[in-house]
């Protein structure tokens, strides 16, 4: 039942579309924030699209993911809709969490997204526990744990990798190394190699170019298949880059990285541009086709934003709901 490695035009175009959807979602979210229409704060995924899409395209809807504070990309890649996402970002009743979670807590159980997490590294236990449950119940779903380079400083990672390795749990630890731990360069906060951490527990660990969606998808597909057969856990470090600051308000960031560096990644290593060029080169799509994809998604996003802006807030009575689950 598992998906095969993406190898036909339809699959490739869907991957392109999904990456564009993430970028478009974030551009709109950023604009909502700048227009002061969005409460709170948010963390942009732009620049890292090939990671979420490359990984999630290797998963089934029944497979689980846990996400991070920078989680919109994972959410879209795992199959979420714009309308419910924008509604959640704006705290509206029709949001994925009825407006109670917001940007940092979107969960979409129907697509196996166990939720974003505002505690850095906070979901590593949850992902590993989901894998433990799959193993105990004989289910063959795999859980992917997304986290950033900054989260490798959290002790929880080492506790759960130890147990996952001991018990051969079907979990894949996906470390998105975007080069910065909040406002600090990764090499200032992480000693040694990232992959060496997993290797210490006897976990197979890989490093891959996170801007190359095909490479990410190829590796992940192989690991997912092996994890289903009990060969897990696995660890993957993806080298990528976040275009925005740590959060949307992190505008002046020259003190920790140069504008030249940002321009280099955006101009020469953009995952969407690279994959679009490959599609054209391979004759799988024309420039017009891709423009059409981007335009259509732009319209879809605009409509969803307008819908969310007009959507009602939750009734005040909801504030006390869902503190406790009703007992059966």
């Amino acid at each position: 039942m598992s998906k095969k490695l993406k190898n036909n035009a339809e699959d490739y175009l869907r991957m392109y579309r999904q990456m564009v959807r993430i970028r478009t979602f974030e551009d709109n979210a950023n604009q909502l924030y700048l227009d002061a229409k969005m409460p709170g704060l948010t963390h942009m995924y732009s620049g890292q699209e090939a990671v979420a899409v490359g990984v999630c395209e290797a998963l089934e809807a029944t497979d689980k993911i846990t996400s991070t504070h920078r989680g919109h990309g994972h959410c879209v890649a795992k199959g979420a809709n714009f309308k419910e996402m924008f509604c959640e970002l704006l705290g509206k009743r029709e949001g994925y969490c009825r407006g109670k979670g917001g940007s940092m807590h979107i969960a979409d159980q129907s697509n196996g997204n166990l939720g974003a997490n505002a505690i850095v590294g906070g979901s590593m236990g949850i992902a590993t526990g989901s894998a433990l449950r799959a193993k105990l119940q004989g289910a063959n779903d795999v859980t992917v744990c997304f986290f950033g380079d900054g989260a490798t400083a959290q002790g929880l990672l080492y506790e759960v990798m130890n147990m996952a390795a001991l018990w051969k749990l079907p979990v894949i630890y996906v470390c998105e190394n975007n080069g910065y731990s909040e406002y600090t360069r990764t090499d200032e906060i992480a000693a040694g190699e990232i992959t060496a951490r997993a290797k210490a527990f006897g976990i197979e660990a890989y490093q891959v170019d996170g801007q190359d969606v095909l490479a990410v998808n190829k590796l992940t597909s192989e690991l997912v298949e092996r994890a289903r057969k009990g060969a897990g856990p696995f660890f993957v470090e993806l080298l990528t880059y976040r275009y925005h600051g740590h959060h949307v308000g992190d505008i002046n960031r020259t003190y920790y990285r140069s504008k030249e560096e940002e321009a280099e990644w955006k101009n020469n290593r953009d995952p969407i541009d690279l994959f679009g060029a490959w599609l054209i080169k391979e004759g799988l799509a024309s420039d017009n086709d891709l423009t059409g994809v981007r335009d259509a998604i732009g319209v879809e996003a605009s409509e969803a934003v307008a819908y969310a802006l007009d959507a009602p807030y939750p009734d005040a009575a909801e504030v006390g709901m869902h503190v406790y689950a009703e007992v059966d």
Binding site: K100, G115, G129
Partner: protein, 331 residues
């Protein structure tokens, strides 16, 4: 009716629920062959195997996190936290993750797990193995907190907790594991949020949680000999709290002492006393008295440790004073 020990009661409850529901599993340090330091889970691994009675490394945040994830995806884990003092290690997974997931997801996700741990001083275990930290988790919305006061409560509350769809933290008094009580052979449940009136009285209400239930019962005995009629209430769970029963009793007696083994400052006694003062103030004929554990780290020396915990004599002394209209605290 047969008598069994507190630890047998817990063991029976877990075994019965594991037989009934394959989603239930037990996880923690030395829960399998070792059966925990208090031997509460002995025998379970023989019946259910190492897949469902899982020994973990000494990694409390790790296995707590695993339990949260397993619960979110359909399992019903029972987490064994060897000492209540280790709650501080699992706070993020318990309070930021387990407690909030249902709410943050707008009701979509549930975390049906039980965290078994313990409380209670006077075991000469010093400051890091003697704390009673239930107030800490009772403060967090989304968690339920049960405090069984005998083998009977231990079994009935555990079975209810395992079937509850929320994270429930159960604090067992570690000095009570060998105490016996009458426990029915047939299946029974104790609802969360239902206090137990152990003794009727008219002059004063003594509210005692967990180990302090027996302290209140002994104090009521002492007072009874002097003609003071004390009502004794065991809340059994502090979240949810059976406020109605407590308030009704205090309306009747006009006086109350709340006794609990957690630290007094900002504690369980304070919460219950405040609710009484807020809601039945005009029925009070004396200040509500809090009697918690002394606000010091638990000392090792028996000569010191015994001073930190409320005693029947201490409770009776305060009760005597307020029934006589004397002051416990100066004007």
């Amino acid at each position: 009716m047969r008598s069994i020990t507190f630890s047998q009661a817990v063991n029976e409850a877990i075994a019965e629920e594991m037989r009934r529901d394959e989603c239930v599993f037990l996880i923690g340090e030395d829960v399998a062959e070792a059966g925990t330091p208090f031997k509460v889970t002995s025998g379970l691994v023989e019946e259910f195997g190492t897949d469902r009675v899982i020994d973990t490394p000494i990694a409390e945040p790790g296995f707590m996190g695993l339990a949260v994830g397993a619960a979110m995806t359909g399992a019903r884990p029972i987490v064994d936290l060897m000492f209540g003092d280790f709650l501080f290690l699992v706070m993020d997974q318990l309070c930021n993750q387990a407690a909030k997931t249902h709410y943050m997801s707008g009701g979509k996700l549930q975390v049906p797990l039980v965290l078994r741990t313990n409380l209670g001083a006077t075991r000469r275990s010093a400051a890091q193995h003697s704390q009673s930290l239930h107030a800490l988790v009772a403060h967090i919305p989304g968690l339920k907190v049960a405090m069984p006061s005998s083998a009977y409560e231990a079994k009935g509350l555990m079975k209810t907790a395992i079937r509850d769809d929320n994270p429930v933290v159960i604090f067992e008094d570690k000095l009570m594991y060998q105490d016996k009580a009458q426990v029915p052979e047939e299946e029974y449940f104790i609802p969360l949020g239902e206090a137990n009136i152990l003794r009727d009285g008219t002059d004063i209400t003594l509210i005692g949680t967990s180990s302090m239930r027996q302290v209140c019962e002994s104090a009521a005995e002492l007072l009874g000999e002097e003609g003071i009629s004390a009502e004794v209430i065991d809340p059994r769970t502090i979240v949810p709290l059976d406020e109605a029963k407590i308030l009704e009793s205090v309306k009747k007696t006009s006086r109350a002492i709340v006794v609990d083994e957690g630290h007094q400052n900002f504690g369980t006694t304070a919460e219950i006393a405040a609710r009484i003062s807020e809601k039945v103030f005009y029925h009070l004929d004396a200040p509500v008295i809090r009697m918690g554990a002394m606000d010091v780290p638990v000392p090792f020396s028996p000569a010191l440790e015994d001073l930190t915990v409320p005693t029947p004599e201490g409770v009776a002394e305060n009760a005597r004073k307020i029934v006589a209209g004397e002051l416990v605290h100066a004007l």
